[in-house]
C-alpha cells in the first residue's frame, strides 16, 4: 500500500480522481468545477479598483478559494510525506533536447535550472515566469475558464464553447512548445 502511494501514479488512476472531482463538487454543494476563477476572486477581494468586472458578490464564491488553498496544502502534503524518491522519468527525446539548453536537473517537478530566484532577473526567467504567468491569468479569464473549467467540466457537460476553448488551449501550447519556447530557452 505504502509502495503504491509513494510511486508515481498512473494516468488512469489520476484521471479517475480528477474526473470524480466534478460530481463530488456538484453533490456536496452544487459547485461547478473550475480553478482559474479563483484568480478573479482574489482581484475582486484585494484590488477591485472600481472595475465593473470585479464588482460582484465574491463572498458567494469564497468556496473556490478554500478549494485552491486545499490544492496548495495537497501539494505540500504530497511533497513532504508521499514523495517519490527517484527523479521524474521523461521521454528520452525531450531529455536530450533539454540538455542542449542546460536543463539537466529532474529532482523537482519544476525545472530548477531555469525557474529559480536568480533566473527570475534574467530575460529568460522573466519571460518564462512573469510573462508566462501573465498570459495564463489573462488568457484563462478571457476564455472564461482553464483546463478544469473548460476541458474537464465543460466538455463533460457537452458544451461546444468549451470544446472550442480547449482546442485553442492546445493550439497555443503547440505553437509555444515547438516554435517559440526553443528561442526563449536559447536566450
Amino acid at each position: 500500500m505504502i509502495e503504491f502511494i509513494t510511486q508515481p501514479w498512473s494516468w488512469y488512476v489520476a484521471g479517475i480522481f480528477v474526473g470524480l472531482t466534478v460530481p463530488v463538487l456538484l453533490i456536496i454543494g452544487n459547485k461547478s468545477f473550475g480553478i482559474s476563477s479563483s484568480l478573479r476572486h482574489v482581484c475582486a477581494i484585494c484590488i477591485p479598483a472600481k472595475i465593473p468586472f470585479f464588482q460582484y458578490e465574491w463572498k458567494k464564491e469564497i468556496w473556490n478559494l478554500f478549494f485552491v488553498f486545499g490544492v496548495f496544502l495537497g501539494g505540500m502534503i504530497a511533497a513532504n510525506f508521499l514523495l517519490n524518491p527517484i527523479d521524474i522519468q521523461i521521454a528520452p527525446a525531450l531529455q536530450n533536447d533539454l540538455a542542449t539548453y542546460g536543463i539537466t536537473n529532474y529532482s523537482n517537478l519544476v525545472p530548477l535550472d531555469i525557474m529559480n530566484w536568480q533566473s527570475l532577473f534574467t530575460l529568460k526567467g522573466f519571460l518564462l515566469m512573469v510573462v508566462g504567468g501573465f498570459l495564463v491569468g489573462f488568457g484563462t479569464r478571457y476564455a472564461g475558464g482553464c483546463t478544469s473549467g473548460h476541458a474537464i467540466m465543460g466538455i463533460a457537460t457537452l458544451q461546444v464553447p468549451s470544446l472550442i476553448a480547449t482546442c485553442c488551449f492546445m493550439i497555443g501550447g503547440f505553437i509555444m512548445a515547438n516554435l517559440i519556447l526553443p528561442l526563449i530557452l536559447n536566450l
Binding site: L25, F53, W63, G75, G133, G137, G144, A151, I175
Partner: protein, 169 residues
C-alpha cells in the same frame, strides 16, 4: 457604512459574477463558513493527485505539447470520461446535493474570447508548464519562486478586467 443592497443591484451583481466564468456557485443556499472546509478537503485530495501523477510537472506539459508522451492525454481523457459518465448519472437519476438541492447545469454561450483567450492561455501554459491549479500545488511542493508566476497570473486577470470592454468578444 453598510448600505442595503437593492434587488436590482443584486441582479446586476449576479450577472457580473457569471461573466466569463464557467465555474460558478449555483447553490441558492447560504452556507455557514465552516461548510467551506468540505471544499478544502476536496482540494487537498486534488492537490495530492496533482503531485503524485506528475500532472503539475513542467516536463510532462512539454512532453504533451511535443507529442512525446501519452501520459497527460491519458489523464485528461480519463478525467473527461469519468466526469461525463458521472454527470450523465446525476442527470439520469436526478441526484440531489447533500442538502437536497437540485443540481444545476448552465449552458455556456459562445463568444470570441474562447478563441483569443484560449490561444493566449495556451501560450502561457506551455511557458509556465502549469495551468492555474498546478500553480497552487507547485508552490505547495516548495517551489516558492512559482509564487511570482501566480502573482503575475492574478495581475493578468486584473488587466483583463480593466480592458475587458475594449476587447473583441
Amino acid at each position: 457604512m453598510k448600505s442595503q443592497t437593492l434587488p436590482f443591484q443584486k441582479t446586476m451583481q449576479d450577472i457580473t459574477r457569471r461573466k466569463d466564468a464557467i465555474c460558478v456557485n449555483e447553490s441558492e443556499k447560504v452556507e455557514k463558513w465552516y461548510h467551506n472546509l468540505k471544499y478544502l478537503v476536496v482540494g487537498i485530495i486534488f492537490g495530492i493527485v496533482f503531485v503524485k501523477a506528475e500532472i503539475i510537472s513542467w516536463f510532462r506539459i512539454q512532453e504533451m505539447f511535443r507529442l512525446e508522451s501519452f501520459h497527460m492525454y491519458g489523464v485528461i481523457g480519463t478525467a473527461v470520461i469519468t466526469a461525463m459518465i458521472s454527470v450523465f448519472i446525476i442527470k439520469k437519476i436526478n441526484i440531489k446535493t447533500l442538502s437536497g438541492e437540485k443540481i444545476v447545469f448552465k449552458d455556456k454561450v459562445f463568444n470570441k474570447g474562447q478563441i483569443y483567450g484560449g490561444l493566449i492561455f495556451g501560450l502561457g501554459w506551455a511557458m509556465t508548464g502549469a495551468c492555474p491549479g498546478p500553480l497552487f500545488a507547485q508552490i505547495g511542493t516548495g517551489a516558492i519562486v512559482v509564487l511570482v508566476t501566480l502573482l503575475s497570473a492574478v495581475f493578468g486577470t486584473w488587466t483583463y478586467g480593466l480592458i475587458r470592454e475594449r476587447l473583441p468578444h
